[in-house]
């Protein structure tokens, strides 16, 4: 039994991967703003959606080294590329220095001067340079080559790591200034430290350093409340997830892995798997937090509706089949057929009108549950009736009756027990329908669940939320299907055999 359950769970992995491919395809449907317009805000928008990356294989993943040398080349060549390259150098900042400064010597004097001047904003951000005139090509070039001779040792990962952990433990203004002088080079450790600590004072220093180096983002104030802190840290994480390769070098194994991970699908899958789904475009709240906040409402409505529909559908369907052809069967079948054909939103809308004004708070929830349950009750009870009809015509039921057992005992113990099984499997297939229905009733009754939020996200074009919600539903349904399969296997040993046969490549 355990082997069967394990096998079924393992089976879900290729399915989930296939689902991820489908959903990834859906994300690619969203329009690409534009290509290479040179407009910084559009480029940024494209990057946050990873549109600048190839879809599945990245043969030449970009990192700080390649970006820096490209920018240096641009600036050194002058002309059209100079301004773009200078902007890039300013953005890359301190992290690019270990790659830019050694290149300086090899450049012709004129290009060297231009690059050195382009680095002036970085120097002022780092608080260095002092009296030297960095706008003067010759003195700037001299300054930077001296700087690198003096400070190269500070630009190592171990040194930064030690400095950051000292800052977190005993923050002083002097240590903060030291970190600022490393500029973006310190970012990997600073961002990592943000998630590791919950100390507001340390967080204030860390976010201030990050903001200073990147000229963006929010700084945690010492008196901010928990939500503000959470949002600010999530925002930094999100930003780092998109921009990490601007500030770290990919070498050896990292470069090999980046061929797969530095792609649109790779980024998307990593997000999906880690549950870090970005931040909402509506209010900047982390999507994961929002999901956690909204999902219980939807799950409650779905769960209650399922409970209600099962407890009504099983007896209704079973009785209809037991009294096949009699008045009860006719009436219940007719009514259930009508309910089956009636869309959930119609039922919900009618219920809302009938109960107009009376429904507040819990009342709305029960109305929503009722609207959702009516539809799925009709479907389930039709299945139940069909399964029961199949069973009551079998010999063992006739035998049970013939040996004089009371009718209720035959119906419940002999027939219903066997007739429940097909309904259990079909119930798994009913999950997607139930979830879709929950979206509808939430909207009609104004319950703040996933569906309600999704429709607001559609109005606001919040792509991050939309992708998250469809991913969450797909994962939830897959898990539900696995659970119903495992339950079925536990009830019926024959099913386990069928699955094993399918495993051997034989048809089920």
């Amino acid at each position: 039994m355990l082997r069967y359950a394990l096998r079924r769970v393992l089976w879900a992995i290729p399915t989930l991967l296939a689902t991820s491919l489908v959903l990834f395809f859906v994300t690619t449907l969203a329009p690409d703003p534009a290509r290479d317009t040179g407009d910084a805000t559009i480029d940024e928008a494209r990057r946050t959606r990873f549109v600048d990356l190839p879809r599945f294989v990245n043969t030449s993943p970009q990192d700080v080294a390649s970006r820096a040398s490209a920018a240096v080349k641009g600036v050194a060549a002058g002309a059209a590329d100079e301004e773009k390259g200078a902007r890039e150098l300013r953005r890359l900042g301190g992290a690019a220095l270990p790659y830019v400064l050694p290149l300086l010597e090899a450049l012709p004097p004129e290009g060297r001067g231009r690059v050195a001047v382009a680095l002036a904003p970085v120097a002022s951000r780092m608080g260095i340079g002092g009296s030297t005139d960095l706008r003067q090509p010759q003195s700037a070039a001299l300054f930077w080559s001296r700087f690198w001779d003096d400070r190269a040792l500070d630009f190592t990962r171990t040194a930064v790591d030690r400095a950051v952990s000292r800052l977190v433990e005993h923050g002083t203004d002097l240590r903060e200034t030291d970190m600022v002088s490393l500029d973006t080079y310190a970012l990997p450790e600073v961002i990592r430290a943000m998630t590791a600590t919950s100390d507001h004072v340390a967080l204030e220093r860390l976010t201030r350093i990050a903001r200073h180096a990147t000229e963006r983002g929010t700084v945690v104030a010492e008196d901010s409340d928990a939500t503000q802190v959470r949002r600010a840290v999530a925002d930094w994480q999100e930003w780092w997830f998109v921009h990490a390769t601007d500030y770290v070098e990919l070498d050896g194994a990292d470069r090999a892995i980046a061929v797969v991970t530095e792609t649109r699908y790779g980024k998307w899958l990593r997000r999906a798997a880690s549950g870090e789904l970005g931040v909402s475009a509506i209010d900047g709240e982390p999507i994961a937090d929002k999901l956690r906040e909204r999902a219980p409402v939807t799950l409650l409505v779905c769960g209650l509706a399922m409970l209600l529909s099962w407890s009504l559908a099983v007896p209704l369907g079973a009785l209809g089949a037991w009294w096949h052809g009699r008045a009860f069967d006719w009436v219940s079948s007719g009514v259930l057929f009508l309910l089956y054909a009636t869309p959930t939103f119609t039922v919900a809308e009618i219920l809302r009108r009938v109960a107009a004004g009376h429904a507040v708070g819990g009342g709305r929830v029960s109305l929503a549950v009722a609207a959702l349950a009516l539809g799925s009750m009709a479907t389930l009870s039709r299945w139940q009736r069909a399964a029961m009809l199949d069973v009551v015509r079998q010999d063992f039921v006739r035998t049970a009756r013939a040996k004089g057992l009371p009718a209720w005992r035959v119906a419940v113990v002999h027939a219903l027990r066997n007739a429940l099984m097909p309904t259990v499997t079909l119930a798994g297939l009913h999950l997607p329908v139930l979830l879709g229905g929950a979206f509808v009733v939430e909207e009609v009754f104004g319950l703040p669940g996933l569906g309600f939020e999704t429709l607001r996200a559609i109005e606001a074009h919040d792509a991050a939320w939309l992708m998250a919600v469809i991913l969450a539903s797909a994962v939830a349904v897959t898990l539900g299907l696995v659970a119903s399969d495992v339950a079925y296997g536990a009830l019926d040993p024959r099913v386990r055999e069928v699955l094993s046969r399918r495993q051997d490549g034989r048809p089920a």
Binding site: L23, S333, L389, L429, I470
Partner: protein, 379 residues
């Protein structure tokens, strides 16, 4: 049960075919049919059973009426005339023929610049589905002058919306079903026939698509795609809902391939492709068509639900769901729920009735088992 009665045993037909060459079989069968023995096929038996089902007949009748409404929607409700005489020349169906003389002439111009002797033959209701009313036209109740079913919040005529909504619903349902049946039959057949890697791939695709709630997917795709149209909706539905059908066809093909008639065909030297296409697939087509009927129902339902939720999107197509969604804003406007709701319900009930009757007709063992009303109607 009278259904199983066949005037002549199929063995008569077999006997005939054995005596003559293959090319002569058809003639002899046709001849025999004219004289005495009807050529009995499964299709014919199923159709005969279907014809005897009263509920199926009622459903088909309703569907036929709805189809007529959809086809002739422009004759029932439109702001363009059916025929008119304009400056002494008679134009029939100017909306279809687009005569040059009437270019730029709309209803208002026609009323104003009419020359003596001109006339206009208007449709039943002289309003189009997307024609906005003036301010005072908003939310007129039914039986208002010129608006038999009243108007919605934008002053659009509800009768026109319902009539043209039929076209949207049935058109979309049929088109999406055609595509999804094509995909489902092709992939399901291929998976059952080829087995191995192909089967695994198709099965994974089926499983993964099944796990995505279609309503949510349609909503999300509609929001992500720029300028989403009805075509977007069609393709989203068609490309994700073929899974059920593929699963069904795959099972039918696997069953068919393992049956004696397939073995016999193979023994006679038929190629695998011929066994599949000539012998096995025809048996799988029936269930596929039944599934298609339910497919139309589910597409109609989905379209209505999506438009109900997405009210206010700049979608100019008339849609029952959209009209019903408009009613959410105003509790008093019952007509916005009732008229489109009845049309929607009639469509869904009829499609389900016909689908279930067709399923029972193809497999009489299921009679009374899967059809809820079958027990009452057929007995």
């Amino acid at each position: 049960m009278s259904d199983e009665q066949t005037p002549h045993e199929p063995s008569v037909v077999l006997e005939l075919s054995r005596r003559k060459g293959t090319s002569a079989v058809r003639d002899s069968i046709v001849g025999a049919q004219r004289v005495a023995a009807p050529y009995v096929t499964m299709t014919r038996i199923a159709l005969a059973r279907l014809g005897r089902d009263r509920m199926a007949r009622a459903g088909a009748l309703v569907l036929a009426c709805l189809a007529l409404v959809a086809v002739f929607a422009d004759l029932l409700a439109s702001d363009r005339p059916i025929a008119c005489r304009w400056h002494g020349v008679v134009y029939v169906l100017p909306d279809v023929t687009h005569p040059a003389a009437l270019a730029g002439v709309d209803a208002a111009v026609m009323r104003r610049d009419r020359s003596p002797g001109d006339w206009v033959l208007s449709p039943l209701v002289a309003h189009g589905p997307t024609e906005m009313g003036v301010e005072s036209d908003a939310m007129l109740p039914p039986l208002s002058p010129g608006h038999p079913m009243g108007t919605d919040g934008l002053g659009r005529d509800l009768f026109a919306r319902v009539v043209h909504g039929t076209r949207t619903a049935l058109g979309l349902g049929l088109a999406a079903s055609l595509v999804l049946v094509a995909i489902g039959v092709a992939l399901g057949g291929l998976a059952g026939f080829a087995g191995g890697v192909v089967d695994s791939l198709v099965s994974r695709a089926v499983e993964s698509l099944t796990a995505i709630p279609t309503l949510v997917l349609v909503l999300v795709v509609g929001a992500l795609v720029p300028h989403a149209t009805t075509a977007t909706l069609l393709w989203t539905i068609a490309l994700t809902r073929w899974t059920e059908l593929a699963r069904l066809v795959r099972a039918e093909v696997l069953r068919g391939l393992s049956e004696d008639y397939a073995t016999a065909a193979r023994a006679l030297g038929a190629s695998p492709a011929r066994v599949l296409l000539r012998h096995v697939m025809p048996n799988a087509i029936g269930p596929a068509l039944v599934a298609a009927a339910f497919g139309v129902a589910s597409v109609v339902l989905l379209e209505a639900a999506v438009d109900f939720l997405r009210v206010g999107s700049p979608d100019t197509m008339a849609s029952w769901g959209e009209s019903m969604g408009e009613a959410r804003a105003s509790m008093g406007a019952w007509w916005l729920i009732v008229f489109p709701g009845v049309a929607l319900l009639a469509t869904l009930v009829s499609l389900n009735l016909v689908g279930e009757a067709a399923r029972d007709a193809l497999d009489p063992k299921l009679r009374g088992v899967s059809s809820d009303l079958g027990g009452g109607a057929g007995g």
